[in-house]
């Protein structure tokens, strides 16, 4: 049903339609309205056959999800930021055990310094955890991806993370055609586990595997994710047949035909980029954008195919691998091996810094002239950085960089609007 609804609420209602049997969550920041909405649906009796478990930590949330899934229940949880880090050990176990848990990550930055705002540091820190990672561009896609996630997870017996931008999507109220129960029931069959803990037929899972077989088990995990490269587009096609709209899949090319420059990005920033691409296309610039929906498995071939005739690729990402630069960019660089094109990495939007159309216009113009550094930090305040660097050069005991920089910019809360306005 078409509704004007908060992203978190749309996802909560959609997850409820997926008939989860166990939802476990730690109800403290960083958490979203998603599990709050789901707990209300369980309490009111609108969501039946589901146990909502209020756990004592994110580590416990994932552990309960593992136990529930191993017992044959469809399990769901949601987290973000430090919460995802805190459950990390169990995150690896869920995928290592091959348990089809679905988890929303409402993308937020990682501390320190403490920052509650949006970027992709959290999910990127778990990109090699063995989970499938799907990134939503809009709240419509966020809702749709959850329905597809359960299908994909259960078909492959692999856990799936649905990543949606914290605040930018989770707190945005916009138009969403929220999936309806009949549609979801037609698309998503009941969970038939590949492995199950059953007191009537006792087995153990999660046994120790030594050097004689560990490589093989890990290889199988990789092969299973590679198989997802076929399953994900197939599930998206079947979704389109029932729901009548395109959502999901591996990659999303937009105006890439005859493009000389292609921007590659993940998540909600794709919307802003598309507006900028449209405006530049009107001026005759041959530019397009490639959205990556499936970051794990990474669709090397699809990306390579999209880039094969372009002069340059600009990878814009909301995460930073300290000590090397881009994370998405490193993956894109792998896909373009042997292709003759320039590759620029742009780190943008860290810790909730707004990514504006004005900044993107300037950035893409620079890229078109091949005047970009290979690694660029969009809208970095160089004066601020240089002041701190000078302090550190002057004296060894220069204090905390974060505190020093904060003092330089003044009061943070009051600065937010002024700052974006002055950037015009």
């Amino acid at each position: 049903m078409l509704r004007q609804v908060e992203g978190s609420k749309a996802v909560a209602d959609t997850v409820a339609c997926c008939r989860p049997e166990v939802i476990c969550a730690y109800p403290i920041s960083p958490q979203t309205h998603i599990v709050e909405g789901l707990s209300a649906l369980v309490k009111s009796g609108e969501l039946t056959g589901c146990e909502f478990v209020n756990v004592e930590s994110e580590f416990a949330a994932m552990s309960v999800a593992i136990g529930a899934s191993a017992a044959g229940a469809r399990a769901y949880t949601a987290t973000a930021s430090q919460g995802l880090l805190y459950m990390s050990e169990a995150v690896y176990n869920a995928s290592g055990l091959g348990l089809p848990i679905v988890m929303t990550v409402a993308n937020r930055a990682l501390g320190g310094p403490i920052n509650i705002w949006n970027d992709h540091s959290d999910s990127m820190s778990q990109s090699d955890s063995g989970w499938i990672q799907l990134y939503a561009e809009t709240n419509q896609e966020a809702a749709d991806l959850h329905v597809q996630a359960f299908r994909i997870a259960e078909e492959l017996s692999l856990p799936v993370m649905v990543c949606m931008d914290g605040f930018i999507l989770t707190h945005a109220v916009e138009r969403v055609d929220v999936p309806e129960q009949e549609q979801v029931d037609a698309f998503l069959p009941p969970f038939v586990p590949r492995q199950v803990l059953d007191p009537a037929a006792p087995v153990s899972i999660g046994a120790m595997v030594g050097p004689e077989a560990f490589m093989e088990v890990r290889y199988l995990a990789h092969a299973n994710q590679m198989h997802a490269l076929e399953v994900i587009p197939q599930v998206a096609r079947e979704f389109a047949e029932i729901f009548g709209r395109d959502s999901g899949g591996l990659v999303r090319p937009y105006r890439c035909e005859d493009a000389e420059t292609i921007i590659v990005a993940l998540g909600s920033v794709l919307g802003t980029i598309k507006d900028v691409v449209d405006e530049q296309r009107e001026r005759g610039v041959r530019i397009g954008v490639l959205g990556i929906t499936s970051f794990r498995p990474f669709p090397l071939e699809a990306v390579r195919d999209a880039l094969k005739d372009v002069k340059r690729v600009v990878v814009l990402e909301k995460a930073l691998a300290v000590g090397i630069g881009g994370i998405l960019a490193a993956n894109v660089r792998t896909s373009r091996a042997g292709l003759d094109l320039k590759c620029y990495t742009v780190i943008a939007g860290l810790g909730g810094r707004a990514i504006t159309k004005a900044s993107l216009h300037g950035l893409f113009e620079q890229a078109g002239a091949d005047a970009l550094e290979s690694l660029t930090f969009l809208d970095l305040d160089h004066d601020l950085v240089n002041r701190e660097l000078a302090r550190e050069k002057r004296t060894h005991r220069s204090g905390s960089p974060a505190e020093n920089v904060l003092r330089d910019v003044g009061i943070v809360g009051a600065r937010l609007v002024r700052r974006t306005a002055n950037d015009q």
Binding site: I168, H171, T356
Partner: protein
């Protein structure tokens, strides 16, 4: 696309106002996007929320930096935050105040491109106290906004309010919004009648 920026303080229902406006626009068949400028949620802290209204899908996710309309829920913000920044030369400004623009120190705001109704103050807190018994001016200001900009109708605003709040509270808010709507309507008529 019509872009609205709402300034206020934590506890004044700033984010709710943006969401209600988006719901009213949606009910009238428009695309709309409402979102807060995300900060720590503290009572009294400056809060900003945004609402975009358009007739096609809204893809952009940047904050509203060049607003077509500004709603200022708390006049004390004028001294603390640059609320007017980026305002369109012919943009609307609606301020919750018993004072005039001149008395607020905004007398030099360029009015050359604006009609008289584009710069308005409304005693929204007083109206809220009168109708709700609480100093929450958001719904009142939305009523005034509907009369000022004709972006949405008062009926759609009230429907959105009814969809959000318990019946009793909703009706009080609707009555307050209607009162503000009537005040602005009468103010807007003055130049034509004069």
């Amino acid at each position: 696309m019509f872009q609205v920026r709402i300034h206020g303080r934590g506890g004044q229902g700033v984010v709710t106002a943006a969401e209600l406006l988006s719901e009213a626009a949606f009910a009238e068949g428009h695309h709309a996007q409402a979102f807060p400028s995300f900060g720590s949620e503290r009572t009294g802290a400056p809060v900003v929320a945004f609402c975009r209204i358009a007739d096609s899908a809204i893809r952009v996710r940047e904050p509203v930096m060049v607003p077509d309309a500004l709603i200022v829920q708390d006049e004390t913000l004028l001294e603390q935050v640059d609320v007017l920044s980026g305002l369109h030369s012919d943009g609307y400004v609606l301020i919750n105040s018993t004072r005039t623009f001149a008395e607020l120190g905004l007398g030099d705001l360029d009015v050359s491109d604006r009609t008289s109704g584009q710069l308005l103050t409304v005693p929204a807190t007083e109206l809220a106290l009168e109708y709700l018994g609480r100093a929450v001016p958001n719904a009142v200001l939305l009523g005034a906004f509907a009369a000022q900009t004709y972006t949405v109708t008062l009926e759609s605003v009230c429907d959105a309010i009814r969809g959000r709040f318990p019946a009793k509270l909703a009706e009080k808010n609707c009555a307050a919004a209607a009162a503000a709507y009537a005040i602005v309507k009468s103010q807007r008529k003055e130049p034509a009648d004069a």
